[in-house]
Amino acid sequence: MTDYISDSFSDLGTDQISVSVTNTSTRSIDPDDMYAILEENDDLFTTMSPTVTVGGQLKNGSETSSTASIRGVSEDYMTVGAYTLSSGRFIQYSDILSRQKVCVIGSYVAQSLYFGESPLGQTLKINGEAYTIVGVLEEKADSEEGSSDDCVFLPYSSATKLTRSADISSYTFIVRDTNTMEYCKSILKNDLFEVFRDEDLYDVTSLSEMLEMVESMTGTMTLLLVGIAAISLLVAGIGIMNIMLVSVTERTREIGIRKSLGAKQHTILQQFVIEAGVTSAIGGILGILLGSTLTISLGGLIGLEAMPSLQWITISFCISAGIGIVFGYMPARRAAKLNPIDALRSE
C-alpha cells in the first residue's frame, strides 16, 4: 500500500516546488518577474515553468477525449517534468512569444485519437480551437487513461486564451539539490512576500511535502491495521491458552505418570511450554504462507502490487511463537504443580 502510493508520487519528481499566486489589481506577479527570481537564484534552481491548467475536451474529427490534462507550459517544461520526445519538437520560446497555436501530445492521446497514424502536423481541437501538433512524447507511464501519458502541452501564452484569463497563477520550480528544499522554499517565500505583502496571496509547497502528507495518511492506516492485528493476536492467544488448558486437563494422567516416574516441575513445564511454542509457531508459518499468498493474489485482483514485507513476516512469526509461549506458560505451570497422586487418579 505504502509502496504503491510512494511509487506513484516519485515519478512526479520530488525536486519540484509549486508556487501558486493570487494576483490582485495592485499587487501581481507575471512570468517575467518569476524568471527574474529564477535568474537571481541560479545556484539554487535549475529551471522554472509557468503552468496553466486548462479544463476541456480534445477532438480529432469524431474522436473525443475529456480525460487528458491540458497544460500551458514554457519551453523548459520538458526538463521540469522529465519528459522525452518520441518525434517532432517540444514547445519553443518563439511559440510562446508569438502565441502559436501548437501543441505537444502524450503517447496515450496519440494512440487514442490518431490510432497509430503519425499525428505530427495534424490538427487537434482543444475546446473547439484548432492546434497543430508539433511533437509526440515518449511513453512515460503505461499509456493508460488518466496517466501521465494522457496529456497535452501548449505554450502558456496560448493557454491563457483558452482559460480566458491573462492571469498566470501557477509556477513550477526545480531545485538543484533536494537537500536544500527548505531553504529554496524560504527564498521563494521571501521574494513573494516582497511583492504581495500578504501571506494569504501565495502558497509555496514542495511535492516531497505532499508525499510526506500521504505517507502520514498511509501510516495512520497501517496503524489501524496493526491495531486490528493486535486484537486478533490477543484473541488467538486466549484461544491457545484455552487449548493448552484443555490439553493439560486431558493429559492430567500422563502428567501424573511422568511425575511418579521422577519428572520434576521444570521438566513438565518445559515440555508443555515447548509444545505450545511449537504449535503456535506452526500456526504462524501457515498464517504467513496464507497471508502472503492472499496479499499477492488479492492485490493483483484489485490492481495493486502488494508485497508482504520481510520485516512484518519476521515480527508476526515472533509474535505468534511468543504468544504460544506466553499463553502456554500458565497452563504449563498448572500442569507442573499438579499433585502426582491426584493426577494419577484422574481419568
Partner: protein
C-alpha cells in the same frame, strides 16, 4: 497386638510361637531398614472434620523383604502407599527411605527420590499410550538424565527380562492386559530401584495372568529385590512373605504370611467350634496343609478368603 476384628467378635489368635520362620529371610534386626516409618500421621481436613488416614503408624521394612500391605478401602493403605512411594509426605512423623529423611522433602526432591529409588507398578499399568514400549520403559531413565544410547540398551534389556524384547516397537494398547503389566514391571525395573512398589498389581487382570505377574514378582524377590505390594485382597497378600494389615490408619497385624493365613482361615469358618479347633495346637499343621494345597492350586480358589 494381634487383635483382629472378625464378625463382631474378637479372636485372640494363638498361633504357636514355633511358627516357622523359614519363610522369613534371616534378617538381622541390626540392619538398617530400607524403609522406616516412625509415628506417621496423615490428617485430611474434610470440612469441619479431621480424617486420620494414618494414625501414628510405625513400620520397618528391610532390604530383600517381600511385604504385602493389606487393607480394605478406606483403611488408610493408599495413604501409606503414597507416603512409602514418596508421592506424598506425612502431616507429622518421620519417613526414612534408604537413609534419607523423605518426610520433609519438597516436590522436586520427592521426584528425584521416586526416580532413583522406587519402581512403581500400578493397577492400571499407567503406560503412555502414544509412545511405544521402548519409549515407555525408557522414561524413568530420561528423567534420571541417562544418555540416549545407554537408555535404549537398558530399556531393551528390561523388556527382554519380562519377555517382551521382540515387541519393543508395539504400542501399549496393542497388548493384552497381562503384557501391559509386564511392560510396567520392566519400566519399574529399568532404573535398578532399591524398592519395587506395586499398587494392586493384579487388580485389573484375570486370575491366570494375575498368577503370572505374582510369580514374576516372586522371581524378582528371589533375585534379591525388595518388593512391597499394596492390596485389598488377602489371597494376594498371602503371596508375600510378610503381611502388614492396616485398619483405620494403623497396623492391626504384622507377621508372616503363614500366620496371616491361619487367621483368615479361622475367620472364614462358620462355626465357633471349628474356629476353636483351628486355633488349637493342631491348627498349625492343618493350616500348613491348607497352604500347601493353596500354593499348588491355581490362584482364585481362595478368592473367598477375606475378613
Amino acid at each position: 497386638m494381634k487383635n483382629i476384628f472378625c464378625r463382631n467378635k474378637i479372636l485372640q489368635t494363638s498361633v504357636p510361637h514355633t511358627a516357622p520362620s523359614d519363610a522369613h529371610r534371616s534378617i538381622s534386626k541390626k540392619d538398617v531398614p530400607l524403609i522406616e516409618l516412625r509415628d506417621i500421621y496423615k490428617i485430611y481436613h474434610m470440612g469441619d472434620m479431621d480424617v486420620h488416614a494414618s494414625d501414628g503408624l510405625s513400620l520397618k521394612i528391610y532390604r530383600g523383604e517381600f511385604v504385602s500391605i493389606v487393607g480394605k478401602s478406606g483403611s488408610g493403605k493408599s495413604t501409606i502407599m503414597n507416603i512409602i512411594g514418596a508421592l506424598d509426605i506425612p502431616t507429622s512423623g518421620q519417613y526414612i527411605l534408604g537413609g534419607q529423611d523423605v518426610s520433609t522433602m519438597k516436590d522436586d526432591q520427592l521426584a528425584e527420590v521416586r526416580n532413583k529409588t522406587i519402581g512403581f507398578i500400578f493397577q492400571q499399568y499407567n503406560l503412555l499410550p502414544k509412545q511405544n514400549l521402548l519409549e515407555n520403559v525408557e522414561l524413568p531413565l530420561v528423567y534420571a538424565g541417562v544418555g540416549k544410547k545407554e537408555r535404549e540398551q537398558r530399556a531393551l534389556k528390561s523388556l527382554e527380562k519380562v519377555g517382551l524384547g521382540d515387541k519393543w516397537r508395539y504400542f501399549p494398547l496393542q497388548l493384552s492386559g497381562g503384557q501391559q503389566q509386564r511392560v510396567s514391571i520392566a519400566r519399574a525395573l529399568v532404573g535398578n530401584p532399591s524398592l519395587i512398589l506395586a499398587d494392586e498389581p493384579t487388580g485389573a487382570l484375570d486370575s491366570r495372568t494375575s498368577r503370572d505377574v505374582l510369580d514374576f514378582l516372586k522371581q524378582l524377590h528371589d533375585e534379591g529385590n525388595t518388593i512391597v505390594i499394596i492390596t485389598h485382597d488377602s489371597s494376594i497378600a498371602l503371596e508375600a512373605e510378610r503381611v502388614v494389615r492396616i485398619q483405620d490408619g494403623n497396623i492391626t497385624f504384622d507377621g508372616s504370611a503363614d500366620e496371616y493365613g491361619v487367621i483368615i482361615l479361622t475367620c472364614n469358618l462358620k462355626h465357633p467350634e471349628q474356629q476353636d479347633a483351628l486355633l488349637s495346637y493342631d491348627a498349625w499343621h492343618y493350616y500348613r496343609r491348607c497352604v500347601r494345597d493353596y500354593s499348588c492350586q491355581p490362584h482364585g480358589k481362595h478368592d473367598g478368603l477375606y475378613f
